[in-house]
Symmetry: C2
Subunit: 213 residues, 2 copies
DNA sequence: CATTTTGTTGACCCATGGGTCGAACAGCAA
DNA sequence: TTGCTGTTCGACCCATGGGTCAACAAAATG
């Protein structure tokens, strides 16, 4: 659950003023995301986060409006990690549903094992103020829909065979969202190896040609 | 996530003194488990629980030592629901690993969609005091082991075919532990139907004769 | 009815922790 | 040196909520 922490100090690189500001914001967010995931949102005090960065509590308020905003930003970054990944998902139609499914699972696993993704699935949205809460829920809904669409696409083009795409999606999300609770980055198993195993498991369950071995 | 609440009043049935005491304890626990699951442990105040039962906060302290103990009892009941179910699991050897797996999954799904089981998988153990925390973790470890053993048994007797029972167990637990987050008792899908779907999904993935259809 | 035991409560205590404020301090330009 | 702006912090405020207590109500007991 906790990645090997770089443990970089607070103000390191001396760059442009705005970049420095944005960089420090990021450092706070990463630290917060980790701590929220480990101990839970309500069990984490702002003093905890500040201490971990060797800064004071008011300094946090120089970079963020309040505790909620920090959590919201973590969730937002987690969601963006899939929806607007660095390389976009291959659009529907360019390859089989099964191939798109594999790609989606690979991305999602990577995302959910990154600090922000982990935070997204480990901490509830209850703490967020209504407006931000709604945005997060909407984001997650879109991701849900993405997987459902892919499954249906695979059923249509004959590369997948699952009786109930909606429910199947939930089972698969469950398996993936649970990863941060037991997978440790320091073990012998790499994220890529893990996602390969998970993909194999899912494919055996729903790939149309699942009698291959 | 929230079952149709009976909403029974506080002191209803007039029975033996001790039974009454124990019954009221149970009512508190069920209410607490539901609220903890819905809103989260830290988001739930003792006043919330008390209000829901139309009693006062100090009354809770007449039945329980503190907030932690209430949570612990919920977890304990959740764990017992599988380990010491009303009818014991068929012992290893009396049937195939695959059959035992089906039975285990059926039980686990039922448990995890009951108030206490839901509470067990929805709320973290961080809040518990060290001693109780250890007991809960131990309980969950035993349940983990149970599934792993069943999987290995199935591999041995040839009814199951999964390359890595440990990891497979985690995937399956993930899918099941995620159920309370999306399944609603008031929908058209019964718990039994749901567990049948989940079992079908898992069996397609790891049953040795998974080419049946 | 008196008295003890069992249940219940309003009112209170107080540690925790989110959030604020004004002072201080850095760097930099004129 | 003087000011200006961006950054940091010690000290403080105060609402929340877990937990307590003494008093009161309600059965049981005799």
């Amino acid at each position: 659950m906790t990645k090997p922490t770089p443990k970089r100090a607070w103000g390191q690189a001396i760059q442009n003023r705005d970049e420095q500001f944005e960089m420090k914001r990021q450092v706070v967010l990463r630290t917060a995301a980790r701590t929220y995931s480990d101990r839970g949102f309500h069990e984490t005090t702002l003093a905890d986060i500040a201490d971990e960065l060797n800064i004071s509590k008011p300094t946090l308020y120089y970079y963020f409006k309040n505790k909620d905003e920090i959590l919201f930003e973590c969730h937002r970054l987690g969601i963006e990690a899939i929806t607007d990944g660095d390389t976009p998902m291959p659009p529907a139609g360019t390859c089989t549903g099964r191939e798109r499914l594999e790609e989606f699972l690979r991305r999602y696993v990577r995302m959910v094992l990154d600090d922000f993704g982990t935070c997204l699935v480990m901490t509830g949205t209850n703490a967020l103020e209504p407006k931000n809460r709604g945005r997060v829920i909407e984001g997650r809904r879109k991701i849900d829909q993405m997987l459902r669409d892919i499954l249906q696409e695979g059923v249509r083009d004959g590369t997948l065979d699952c009786p109930d795409p909606k429910m199947t999606a939930m089972f698969v999300f469950g398996a993936m969202n649970w990863l941060p609770r037991w997978y440790h980055h320091d073990g012998g198993l790499s994220v890529d190896a893990l996602s390969a195993r998970l993909i194999a498991f899912v494919m055996r369950a729903i790939a149309a040609d699942r009698c291959d071995r």
